[in-house]
């Protein structure tokens, strides 16, 4: 019966960001992919420390890759993605992944500043940049930052807000939806019921449904 009690208590709790303490445990549950055609020694060390990171030399089937629902993807720029993105390589992959799954946190892994300048419009879509020559501890700290973003309900809400704004003209309604998500978000059914009182627009319901699924999949990790 304890599990049921825990579940009920959990469901009635408002949505919050992970505390520093919780994050230190939950970060190891983040699904991370690194895509680089060269061997990156940091990956083995991260795996040893408990990070769930998969090492790819390229992405051959991007849709299959997307289905794996990675929270954080570290993308090299040169030598990958030619099949999908041609000469724009990693930048093209970034665009494809961000267009298909904007909630995926993507780190561009590069020391090529000339390339960032050349592809600056695409570069804006990246969530973070990691220099290739960072020491292991700095690399790990940057990766933790990315996981923190990926596990932040606020980050996902802000992304979905853009979709909601297309279908809601009233700022008050948006604020109310935000309040409902934070207050009842752990109980998806209840949250959707409350949201339907504000808007019956199918796009709004679909958008909040997606958002709640993402947030709950993260919160369930703790």
């Amino acid at each position: 019966m304890n599990w049921l009690k825990n579940l009920i208590t959990k469901e009635s709790e408002p949505i919050k960001e992970f505390t520093t303490e919780d994050f230190e445990t939950v970060k190891f549950k983040a699904r991370i992919a690194l895509v680089d055609d060269e061997e990156i020694l940091h990956v083995k060390r991260l795996q040893k420390e408990g990070y769930s990171i998969v090492d790819y030399s390229d992405i051959d089937n991007v849709d299959e890759f997307i289905r794996k629902k990675y929270n954080v993807v570290i993308l090299d720029i040169q030598g990958i993605g030619r099949k999908i993105a041609g000469s724009s390589e990693g930048w093209g992959l970034l665009k494809y992944l961000k267009d298909e799954c904007p909630h995926m946190v993507i780190i561009m892994f590069t020391g090529a500043d000339w390339s960032i300048t050349k592809y600056q419009d695409l570069a804006k879509q990246a969530d973070l940049f990691i220099g290739k020559d960072l020491e292991y501890l700095d690399f790990k700290s940057k990766l933790d930052s990315a996981i923190r973003i990926a596990f932040s309900p606020k980050f996902h809400f802000e992304l979905e807000k853009k979709n909601l704004l297309k279908n809601i003209s009233n700022a008050d309604s948006l604020r109310q939806i935000e309040e409902i998500i934070y207050k009842y978000g752990r109980d998806k059914k209840r949250a959707l019921k409350e949201i339907r009182k504000i808007s019956t627009n199918p796009s709004v319901i679909q958008s909040t449904d997606n958002l709640l699924s993402i947030i709950n999949s993260i919160l369930d990790l703790s």
Binding site: E38, I40, L41, H42, R45, E49, G111, A112, D113, W114, S115, T117, L128, F129, G131, K132, D133, L134, E135, Y136, L137, D138, S141, K142, S145, R148, I149
Partner: protein, 354 residues
């Protein structure tokens, strides 16, 4: 390729006459009827394998100048005289140039084209990227060998490591420092830096690390840089970017010390009214009073150093600009006013600490 002045080049079996960025090709070169004559003249000229610079007057009465198949045409050099040439002078007064000036420009262009003097910037940037990538391989391997798994362990792990491992680590970090400094020449690079303020770091640990790097550098005469004071205060931002500032200031201190072996630079850290003060001092020529305000300006080099030590005048400027991202500032002071020699102190003031 394009040029500031009108020029010609072989295009298939024909000679093509093209406009320059500053001057268009005189219309005589476009006239039908004169084509055969002028085509023959320039074909003959360009097909000769001439390394040295050749110039003269063409059948249209314009000057040409050729070097390595690169040929300016349609110009008028001051001093040359023929009847056609004089007619052209009246018609094309904008096309009259000093011969020496044009020769100088053509030589410069030829050297650029033939890579005699300069390496193209694309090759430099591409190779810097490759170097950075290769350096990252050294860096990650040495990281693994040093086996530093926590920031708190850095000091003890580094100290107990073998000397040759320390050297490889230091070498790799100094290469990164050089490559980082090249990046700072990209316009607005520092201004556009995106700092991750969700990260934070203990400043003292960064100071300790950078001091160790310079203490273990490759000089035969070691400089025993001291680090005084202790603080556990943190600031927000990317540690590795802040560490570049410390490297810039310590490198500066070593460079401008009169004798860094017998009087090594000093680094000190202290807290004062919830402000963190980091001072990097070197014993050497004192910066004159009238130059103090320009010390952090781009490209500025003090008169007390510029003839003795090579430099670009970019280090202090870059440090100053990077520190703005950390809500910090750097200032210069000296203990003895009106003296020629003494301690030069650069103090970083970090006000947003926790």
């Amino acid at each position: 390729m394009s040029s500031d002045f009108p020029y010609c080049k072989i295009s298939g079996k024909q000679i093509e006459f093209l406009n320059g960025k500053l001057l268009e090709i005189p219309k005589e070169y476009r006239k039908r009827g004169d084509e055969v004559n002028i085509q023959c003249f320039y074909k003959n000229l360009i097909s000769k394998d001439v390394n040295s610079l050749v110039y003269g007057i063409d059948p249209f009465g314009f000057n040409y100048i050729i070097a390595n198949n690169f040929c300016y045409v349609g110009l008028l050099f001051e001093g040359d005289n023929t009847s056609v040439f004089n007619n052209n002078r009246k018609k094309y007064s904008n096309y009259i140039f000093d011969k020496k000036l044009i020769i100088g420009l053509v030589e410069k262009e030829r050297n650029l084209e033939s890579f005699y003097e300069y390496v193209p910037i694309e090759i430099v940037t591409q190779n810097i990227h490759e170097l950075r990538n290769l350096n990252s391989k050294i860096s990650s391997n040495i990281d693994l060998l040093l086996n530093i798994s926590e920031e708190d362990d850095w000091g003890t792990s580094f100290e107990r490591s073998e000397e040759n491992l320390k050297k490889i680590y230091v070498g790799s970090r100094l290469i990164k420092f050089i490559l980082d400094n090249i990046k700072f020449y990209i316009p607005n690079y520092i201004e556009d830096l995106k700092i991750d303020y969700s990260r934070s770091f203990v400043v003292h640990k960064s100071l300790y690390k950078i001091v160790q790097i310079f203490k273990n550098d490759f000089k035969k005469k070691k400089s025993d840089i001291s680090l005084d004071g202790k603080s556990f205060k943190k600031i927000s931002g990317d540690k590795e970017v802040f560490e570049i500032v410390i490297m810039l200031l310590i490198e500066n201190a070593l460079k401008y010390s009169n004798d860094p072996t017998s009087i090594p630079p000093k680094v000190a850290i202290k807290e004062e009214n919830n402000i963190l003060l980091i001072t990097i001092s070197s014993f050497g020529n004192i910066i004159p009073e009238h130059e103090k305000s320009k010390l952090f300006s781009r490209g500025f080099r003090s008169t007390v150093h510029n003839s003795k030590v090579d430099g670009t005048g970019m280090g202090l400027h870059n440090a100053y600009k990077i520190l703005k991202h950390f809500h910090s500032e750097v200032s210069y002071s000296t203990q003895i006013e009106n003296s020629l020699i003494g301690w030069n102190n650069f103090t970083i003031k970090c006000s947003k600490i926790f």
